[in-house]
Symmetry: C2
Subunit: 203 residues, 2 copies
Amino acid sequence: MSREETRTRLLNAAMRLFHEQGFAATGVATILRDAGVNSGSLYHHFASKEDLLERVLDRYVDLLHPVVLDPVREREPDPVERVFALLAAYRQGLEATRCREGCPIGNLALEVSDSYPGVRPKIDLNFRNWIRGVASWLEQARGRFPETTAPDDLANLVLVVMEGGIMLSRARDSLEPFDRAVASLRDYFDRLQADRSGKENPR
Amino acid sequence: MSREETRTRLLNAAMRLFHEQGFAATGVATILRDAGVNSGSLYHHFASKEDLLERVLDRYVDLLHPVVLDPVREREPDPVERVFALLAAYRQGLEATRCREGCPIGNLALEVSDSYPGVRPKIDLNFRNWIRGVASWLEQARGRFPETTAPDDLANLVLVVMEGGIMLSRARDSLEPFDRAVASLRDYFDRLQADRSGKENPR
């Protein structure tokens, strides 16, 4: 196995295990076994488990556009509907895992923000880029929202609703809290857009 | 130390440590040391660390009204303002800990829902009771919202925004994402109320 292949296997295994089990609950031995590499080889590639976590978070930053945002952008031309198509994609993930696993970044945000403050900026970068991507879509639909509504405030709310909705659905073992929260968000978006069009066409 | 006192000390220590460090990262030895009780005494009182976690979650259920909801209800007579006073109380917690710790139930929801599915219903019960409490306030203000707006849908959204906002603020080490999300929620509430009053007093 090449040096590069070993490194990639370790990263893939850590990425999957941190998502499925959490960071603290995943031992280095499990990562090595899952990756199928020799024990001891972890520290040839990564200074520590925390260093491995940082590289996993770098990978998520790299994957955000090609894996998460671009496929939704390519299949949904309307920028507002695209936001809800993105939420529907997270819903599909919840459905496929029967409300397990959830968002890997959200899980790590709550689990390691205090215990490994060095990784906080990388978790935050994932969130910031997500918000920036969704805000850029909403920017395209700016004329449909009231002038006082900032696209990045709305995008912040969309991420908050996605993460909070996933949390409640995982606890309830049901898509219901997520669906309800998204329906409320949709109602807010509809009212914002109705308000704008109402002002342009005063009764 | 009485049997009852030992049990209470263990519960208090576990409650604090699970909140500060997480469940997996907290060892039984740390709980014993923190509680100042003899090693070995944990298993006289609790069948396992997971059993201790269940009792901690029972405690949170018991504390929800006297510690979280009632103080806000007593100081804010307006039922809608009370919802935002409750969010302000969580903000104060975030501020006091400099965006550390967050919501103990939210943390556990993401950390243990998959690995200890037996505790899921108790996490969910905490969320359900929170939503029910906030919905009962909004029920009192029902006449101020459109008839199609269900108080429990709104209360579900309030919890989702609170939990998602705390998550982003912990990752960013800043109150900003939480504040922004609450401002968006306030804008939604304002629009709902304006819609209702607009319909009663048609232009």
